[in-house]
Structure formats: structure tokens, C-alpha cells
């Protein structure tokens, strides 16, 4: 689905402030996967995902998305961007229309969809990200920061892309809102067989949602593996400024102190289940 071969990216090439953000990266992401992308600040996550929809052109190497090679004349970039939806980091600044509804409709109307379908999609995604209908007629500039964030995310979801890329979509949202939005995205991923790449600094979120995790370190791919396989390497992750989920740390600590627990517990739900088994309690659904 998405394939990178020996891709590098250099900011301000040839200038005095030259900076290599990506250093000979090769990787492959399959259709329908949920990828968690983690890495320390400045490791090149945002740079990497901006290449996947052609916003940045690789300094060297080739990128193939859906069988189309980026940078070739025959590849229509606009078309590509409808297929690969990208929610940028802190996307609030992209709002510009008079009303929230019109702003969400900007992407779909660029796609040339009929009016009724646009209206349908707007209502649908607004509900999905938790925007109440009366907000739709307000000016986006009168909203709170978190509401603006939701509008911006909705604006991309409304294009119903085949690949959805989110750059720290939940930074600065309250915990309930965060879980709600991520849950909806997971839902959409499963229902529409959407490929999702989620950039996040929260190991918990990534552990809960992702099928595979891509770890970046100083512009290089450090790991790209199943969630369990990545979080088994806690030591290496700590070395490169990351961590394993807190619940995993707790469980590992308990195990080291002789509590009979299995390895590889990455979510609170798993931990709860294991602890219930251990103490012979009847499981009651949490949440």
C-alpha cells in the first residue's frame, strides 16, 4: 500500500542551516493496518508523514502509494491527497470559513462531490468527533481550542480517505475527548478497512490501538514491528527517549516481585483481566 525505498529528506539543502530530517528510510505499510508512529521530539515523524501525501518531495529515494509513484508526472497530487488524508500537527490554524459546517465541507467540495452528499458527510463526521449540531453554524474562530481541533479533524475525515494520517491529534485535548476521538477513529478504521497512521507521544494510546508500531530515532527507523515485540524492548526505548506504557511497568514490577503474571501486558484492560484471573474475581466490564 505504502512503500518507501531509501528515502531521505534534507531541510534547506545547501544552505547554512542544512538539516537532515530523514536518513535513508525504507519501510512498507500494508492496506488496512493501524500503525502507531512514535519517536522523540525532532525525530522526523512529521517530516515522514508529510511525504506520504506529497506535501514534501523526498530529497532522494522513491515513495509509492497505492501503486502510484510520487513525483512522477502521471501522479495527480490533488487526487492523491483525497486518498491520503492528513491531519497536521496543531491543525487549528487551518480553519478559515465563516461557519464550522462550511469549513468541514472545504475538503469534500474540493473533491467535487454533490451538495447533498457533502451535507450528509459534514453532519456525520461532526457527530463523530463530538461537535453538537448547534456549533455547526457558529464561526470557527469563536470556538475553544479543543473544539477547533475537532473541527480540523472532521475536515479531513469528511474526505473519507483510504489512508488516514494523524499527527498528534489529541495533544491538548481532555482525557475523555481524547479517548472518544481515538475510539471513533479505531471504529472507522475497522468499518471502512481504512489504513491509519497515528503519531503520538502517548505509549498507552499507541499500545491500545496499533497493530504495528514504527519507532523513529534521529531520522532513522529504529523498529517497525508488532506492538508486543516493540514494547518488549523497554530498555532500548528508554535509551532513545521513549518509554513503555505505565501499566506495563507496573505489571513488570509486580512480576519481578514474585506475582504470578504473564508477560506482554500493554493495556489497562489486559492487566485487569489478568489480575481478575489471578485473584479469582469475576470480571466486571470496566469503562
Amino acid at each position: 500500500m505504502i512503500k518507501l525505498e531509501d528515502v531521505s529528506y534534507v531541510y534547506m539543502q545547501g544552505g547554512p542551516f542544512e538539516k537532515t530530517a530523514l536518513d535513508h528510510i525504507s519501510l512498507e505499510i500494508h492496506k488496512g493496518e493501524f500503525i502507531g508512529l512514535i519517536g522523540h521530539t525532532g525525530s522526523g515523524k512529521s517530516t515522514l508523514i508529510q511525504m506520504l501525501n506529497g506535501l514534501l518531495k523526498p530529497t532522494s529515494g522513491t515513495i509509492t502509494v497505492n501503486g502510484k509513484v510520487l513525483g512522477e508526472k502521471s501522479t495527480n497530487l490533488q487526487q492523491l491527497r483525497f486518498e491520503v488524508g492528513l491531519v497536521m500537527q496543531y491543525p487549528e490554524y487551518q480553519l478559515f470559513e465563516e461557519t464550522v459546517a462550511k469549513d468541514i465541507a472545504y475538503g469534500p467540495s474540493n473533491m467535487g462531490l454533490p451538495k447533498e452528499e457533502i451535507a450528509e458527510r459534514v453532519a456525520y463526521v461532526a457527530n463523530m468527533v463530538g461537535l453538537s449540531p448547534e456549533l455547526l453554524e457558529k464561526s470557527p474562530f469563536d470556538l475553544s481550542g479543543g473544539q477547533k481541533r475537532r473541527v480540523a479533524i472532521a475536515g479531513v475525515l469528511a474526505m473519507e480517505p483510504k489512508v488516514l494520517i494523524l499527527d498528534e491529534p489529541t495533544a491538548g485535548l481532555d482525557p475523555a475527548g481524547r479517548d472518544e476521538i481515538l475510539c471513533k477513529i479505531k471504529d472507522m478504521h475497522e468499518r471502512m478497512d481504512m489504513t491509519v497512521i497515528l503519531v503520538s507521544h502517548s505509549m498507552e494510546d499507541v499500545a491500545k490501538l496499533a497493530d504495528r508500531i514504527l519507532v523513529m530515532n534521529h531520522g532513522k527507523v529504529e523498529m517497525l514491528d508488532k506492538t508486543a515485540a516493540v514494547f518488549r524492548q523497554g530498555k532500548r526505548l528508554t535509551e532513545i527517549g521513549l518509554n513503555i506504557p505505565q501499566i506495563t511497568q507496573v505489571m513488570d514490577g509486580l512480576r519481578e516481585n514474585g506475582v504470578n503474571l504473564g508477560e506482554g501486558i500493554y493495556t489497562v484492560e489486559d492487566a485487569y483481566r489478568q489480575l481478575c484471573d489471578l485473584m479469582n474475581l469475576k470480571e466486571q466490564p470496566i469503562c
Binding site: 506535501l55 497530487l77 491527497r81 491531519v87 497536521m88 491543525p91 490554524y93 472545504y106 475538503g107 474540493n110
Partner: protein, 270 residues
């Protein structure tokens, strides 16, 4: 998109020229510009060229960057050169149809082009080796005597440094907004003028909003730190003339002396 525009023009470094007092550099560049107009023959320009090349070598700025400064005035230089070449009256050396080239025309054109090129290279070298902050600092100090006649030197310099600081910020912001809107399928390249102008709206609205917000935040931040203009304000980095500045001044005076000697010895070309 906009990634090729570097921060101002400054090329950071630690050469002697970089470390000169900005006031010295500003004054010397002003004198240098005057000097380019006082030269009367090609020997003089040869001397000036030698001095300029020497400065570029000492500054360790790649010549590529100095020459880049010439690009924007290239058309202007060519047109000026051509006008001088064809429109100067004098002893005709070549003529064809309605065009005629005179000896004086050739000299005038050559002088004009040389002057413009040196003027540009000199000022480029100043901005390449002096950070915008140092530059405005230097200007403020040079304008300080004018405060007596009511020139708000500090405020002017402050306005200038804020404006300079905002250029890269706004560039970055534009870039970010353009990317975000392109990601939603915005198309800035196709269509007629009207459509293209309309396509700019999604960029301009957020840009203006963020510019006003930033200006507002900056004003608040300055007020919070009790900023109240230039009066009785002391500075973190006092500008001091040093031995380097004396050296620079003497080398420049040597150049001036040589140029005048050349003027005297070899006379006026035209």
C-alpha cells in the same frame, strides 16, 4: 514550497568580519558605496575588486551566496548598461541601422554596471556577515545623536528588529497553512486569475488572524516585562570598538588612498 528562502540573508560564521562592530561595518559600507562613485578609471576598479574579493575570502562566506545577492538586480543592471551603451553621444565606433555605439557609451555602460555590481556585493557582504539584530543595534547607536532633534532612534530600531524577526515566522506560518490546505485538496496553481485569487482566501484568512494574534501576544509579553521604550534603558551587549575595528578602518583608508592615487596617476577615462 517556501523552504528555499533562508532566514534573512545572514550567513553565520566567526571570521574577523563577522566579529567586527556592526557600526564599523555600516559606516565602512556607506563609505565603500561613495567610493565606487569616485573611481575614475579601471585601475581603480581593479583595486576595489581586489579589496572586495579579499573581504569575501576573509569572511569565509561561500562566493555563491554573495553572488546570489546580485540576482534580484540583474535585470536592472542589464537595462542600465544597455541604455548607457546606446544612448550616450560621442565618438561613434560602431553603427548599424538606428543603433550606434560610441566610445563614451562603452565606458559609461561599463562604469555603471561595475558601480551597481560593487554596490550590491558590498551591501550583501554586510547583511551576510551581520545578524539582523546586530544590524539594528548598530543603526540605533549610529542614529542616537539624532535623538536630540526628535528622531526616535530606539523605537525605530525596535520596530525594525521586530519586523525582521516576523518575516521568517510569517514565512513558516504561510508554509504550514499552505500545506494544511493542500492536504484538504486546495489547488493554487490552476484556473484563471479570479479562481486563483479565490484559492488564496483559505491561506490569507488564517495568516492574518495568526499575525494579529502574534502581534497581540508579543505586545502583552513585552508589557509583562515592563518594556517602556528606550529611555534609560541599559543593554545586555554594549557595542564596543576594538582593535579589529581600527584595523578594518585602516585597511579601508589604505584602499581609499590607493584609489585616489590611481585617479591621480592614470587620470579620468572619460
Amino acid at each position: 514550497m517556501l523552504k528555499d528562502i533562508t532566514l534573512g540573508q545572514y550567513f553565520p560564521g566567526s571570521s574577523v568580519i563577522h566579529r567586527l562592530d556592526p557600526r564599523t561595518k555600516i559606516l565602512l559600507v556607506l563609505c565603500y558605496i561613495v567610493l565606487t562613485f569616485l573611481i575614475e578609471n579601471f585601475i581603480g576598479y581593479l583595486l576595489l575588486a581586489a579589496f572586495t574579493v579579499g573581504c569575501i575570502l576573509v569572511s569565509k562566506v561561500p562566493p555563491k551566496f554573495v553572488l546570489k545577492g546580485l540576482k534580484p538586480i540583474l535585470v536592472f543592471v542589464v537595462i542600465t548598461g544597455l541604455f548607457n551603451l546606446f544612448l550616450t553621444r560621442g565618438d561613434v565606433v560602431f553603427s548599424w541601422w538606428i543603433f550606434s555605439i560610441t566610445r563614451q557609451g562603452i565606458y559609461f555602460a561599463a562604469f555603471m554596471v561595475l558601480r551597481l555590481v560593487f554596490l550590491m556585493v558590498g551591501t550583501s557582504l554586510l547583511t551576510l556577515t551581520t545578524s539582523p539584530i546586530a544590524l539594528t543595534d548598530g543603526m540605533e547607536r549610529l542614529l542616537r545623536p539624532l535623538r536630540k532633534v526628535g528622531v526616535p532612534a530606539h523605537e525605530l530600531a525596535m520596530m525594525m528588529s521586530i519586523a525582521l524577526r516576523f518575516i521568517p515566522i510569517l514565512m513558516e506560518e504561510t508554509d504550514k497553512i499552505m500545506k494544511a490546505q493542500s492536504a484538504r485538496g486546495a489547488d493554487f496553481e490552476s484556473g484563471n486569475i479570479l479562481r486563483r485569487a479565490k484559492a488564496m482566501v483559505p491561506i490569507l484568512v488564517p495568516l492574518f488572524i495568526s499575525a494579529f494574534r502574534r502581534a497581540d501576544e508579543l505586545a502583552t509579553a513585552m508589557e509583562c516585562r515592563c518594556y517602556r521604550g528606550g529611555e534609560n534603558r541599559t543593554r545586555f551587549k554594549e557595542l564596543l570598538y576594538g582593535k579589529k575595528d581600527l584595523g578594518a578602518g585602516i585597511s579601508f583608508l589604505a584602499l581609499v588612498a590607493l584609489v585616489f592615487a590611481a585617479n591621480f596617476l592614470f587620470g579620468k577615462v572619460i
